[in-house]
């Protein structure tokens, strides 16, 4: 029985290797896609919208106002998280691009901004969106300057550091009298200005002019990329090679569908069924061929990513497990397509269209993070999306074992659904024949 299964699988693999078209779409095309996209996304600009999660660890007027300003920014889609851990978790799960955390003491640090201090903001970003995180930091700085309005319009908050500065200057014996007098005049002017504006509505232009006079940073952003084991993603190729895998899987699926439907079309299926083997053996043999070709394709691509582009897997054994599960699931997808479409024309035409659409929606051409929210929601139905998630985890994204197994479990469920549809379709067809 094993001999027959291996014979069928070997035959299919041999035919695949000798079919230049199938080989191109199974191996070479995915490599081209991965390298090309890696070069493109390495210089990618900001997509819209940019989703972030905000945490205010110690509520205060400034922190709350800052968070409100972020929510009101049209370039951002902001959601709230109760604490730092859940915000970082949202980044790790790719639900958002970055977590912006206003730490304990954020408001208190506002009093130090005229004496060399700044209000701290922690920013934890998705490394696959490094370019956008840089832009986000600029955005935070911009909002930080706008928030100065609150600081300078709060006379008591402003006067406390002013008073301290005045005392320090008056007690400073290293300054000459003329210097001391000049600086104290400036401070007195600022105090007068602040006192005059107390209770008045202040225009943003006035604040803009005032802030422009000071060359300081109102906020200090501590940015870090969310990685597991403190390992940075080596390059954009860490993101694009899993995308290449998606296209390789699409090639394997179509090659398998073609061989399966081809058996029916060219009459060899009759010959296989006439042999002293059950239909289950034939299916297992053909499925084994598809699994092996998918696995080899993934291994080739990820080895290339490692050896040439420096994408070293975080956890090779879990990656191998993920690749194996992905191979089995896509074999089930291929069986489903082969079972649903009877003629070779329908299977190759409609099947190819289905696979291409699923691959694109699943993030094969444009990474999910660059997709509009609606398309990202639709992508949940694509097994290619789950394949990327399952591979990215052990490849570079990391996360807990439970999270990685959850990704593999998700794609396994897709596989079970595909296999079930295939079994039902075959049963219906056999009943009808």
């Amino acid at each position: 029985m094993i001999q027959q299964v291996i014979a069928i699988a070997t035959k299919d693999l041999r035919l695949l290797v000798r079919d230049r078209g199938a080989l191109f779409f199974t191996v070479f095309f995915p490599v081209v896609i991965a390298i090309l996209f890696g070069m493109v996304f390495g210089k990618m600009s900001t997509p819209n919208p940019f989703e972030v999660v905000v945490v205010v660890e110690e509520p205060g007027p400034l922190a709350n106002s800052f968070a409100t300003a972020l929510r009101g920014d049209s370039a951002l889609v902001v959601e709230s998280a109760p604490n730092r851990e859940s915000a970082i978790d949202a980044v790790r799960k790719k639900r958002v691009a970055a977590a912006i955390i206003f730490p304990v003491g954020f408001d208190a640090r506002a009093e130090t901004i005229f004496s060399g201090g700044s209000m701290p903001i922690d920013c934890v970003g998705d490394p696959s969106r490094a370019a956008e995180i840089g832009l986000l930091q600029g955005k935070l700085m911009e909002i930080g300057f706008r928030q100065l309005m609150l600081v300078v319009s709060d006379r008591d908050r402003l006067m406390r550091p002013m008073g301290e500065m005045r005392n320090q200057i008056e007690g400073n014996r290293q300054m000459s009298d003329s210097e001391r007098t000049a600086v104290l005049k400036i401070l007195a002017g600022v105090q007068e200005l602040s006192g005059a504006k107390k209770g008045e509505e202040q225009g943003s232009n006035a604040i803009g002019g005032a802030t422009a006079a000071f060359e300081f940073r109102p906020v200090s952003i501590r940015a870090e990329m969310m990685t597991s084991g403190e390992i940075e993603p080596p390059s954009s190729y860490a993101v694009t090679f899993p995308q290449g895998v998606v296209w390789g899987l699409a090639g394997c699926v179509m090659a398998f569908v073609t061989t399966f439907v081809g058996e029916r079309a060219q009459g060899t299926m009759t010959r296989l069924r006439a042999a002293p083997i059950s239909m289950q053996i034939i299916l297992v043999g053909k499925a084994l061929g598809c699994v092996v070709s998918s696995l080899v394709m993934q291994a080739l691509l990820l080895t290339l990513a490692w050896s040439v582009f420096g994408v070293r897997p975080l956890d090779p054994w879990t990656l191998l497990l993920a690749m194996s599960i992905v191979s089995i699931v896509f074999t089930a997808l291929a069986m489903m397509i082969a079972a649903l479409f009877e003629s070779s024309g329908a299977a190759e035409g409609a099947g190819r269209a289905l696979v291409i659409v699923l691959a694109i929606v699943g993030g094969g051409s444009i990474p999910l993070v660059f997709m509009p929210p609606l398309l990202r929601t639709i992508s949940v139905a694509s097994p290619f999306r789950w394949a990327i998630s399952a591979i990215e985890g052990p490849l570079w994204r990391g996360g807990s074992i439970a999270e990685q197994f959850a990704a593999m479990g998700s794609i396994a469920i897709v596989g079970v659904v595909c296999a079930s549809i295939a079994i039902v379709a075959v049963a219906v067809r056999r009943r009808g024949s």
Binding site: K11, Q266, R271, R273, P276
Partner: protein, 245 residues
């Protein structure tokens, strides 16, 4: 060797085979003749276990119903379609099918099988490069590779040149001489006359006549005597001259 008893099979409202009974003994070549849509292919499919009859029995002497894999091991099938993989070589094709039948074929056995069908010089060439006659011969070689007790050949010489046709007929006769039971479907009257020991004429799912060539000609041939065109007359007399779909 092969016994078909009262086989019936319908496709929806179409009764494709309606009570066919036929015997094929060891060393005997039985021809199944009939126009298109007569029910020959359905009969062959049931005889080889590819299709389950609605009623009736198929039995392979000593092995039971060919629906069972154990019995199918005794059958060599050459379908009408050239059921071959164009990406494999002739040798790889024979090796693959011999493995499916659980036969450990040695290199010299493969060479002998290719020699039998006149393809020994092309063993390492891909099937996709073969002519129609060569493919037809390889199609037959695949049916023979596991030395079956029953050979079922569906239009074995369709669309091939006279040389290949003659070669295939020689192979059929030599296998029968060696004790193999052979069931052949054909539209080629000359082939049936030259190869078959017994001939069954079939139409509309039933066997209209069954016997040796001389018996059929005597019973159903043209009354023109010496001017008779033999089996073709028998077929036309039995099945009519109206065109079939």
């Amino acid at each position: 060797m092969l016994s078909l008893r009262s086989l019936r099979r319908a496709y929806g409202t179409l009764q494709a085979v309606d009570g066919v009974s036929l015997q094929v003994g060891r060393g005997e070549v039985v021809g199944l003749l009939g126009p298109n849509g007569a029910g020959k292919s359905t009969t062959v499919a049931m005889a080889t276990g590819l299709l389950r009859p609605d009623s009736g029995e198929v039995e392979l002497a000593g092995f039971g119903d060919p629906i069972n894999p154990h019995a199918r091991r005794q059958i060599g099938l050459a379908p009408q379609e050239l059921a071959l993989y164009s990406g494999l070589t002739a040798t790889e094709t024979l090796l693959f099918f011999s493995r499916l039948y659980g036969v450990a074929t040695r290199r010299d056995q493969l060479r002998t099988a290719l020699e039998e069908v006149g393809l020994s010089a092309r063993g390492h060439d891909r099937v996709g490069t073969f002519s129609g006659g060569m493919k037809r011969r390889l199609n037959l070689a695949v049916a023979l590779i596991h030395s079956p007790s029953l050979l079922v050949l569906d239009e074995p010489t369709a669309g091939v040149d006279p040389q290949s046709r003659a070669h295939v007929r020689e192979i059929i006769r030599s296998r029968a001489t060696a004790g193999c039971a052979v069931l052949v479907t054909t539209h080629d009257m000359e082939e049936a006359e030259k190869v078959c020991d017994m001939i069954a004429v079939m139409d509309h799912g039933v066997i209209l006549a069954h016997g040796t060539l001389s018996q059929l000609v005597a019973a159903h041939g043209s009354k023109a005597g010496a001017a008779s065109r033999g089996l073709e007359d028998v077929l036309l007399n039995l099945t009519g001259r109206s065109l079939r779909e």
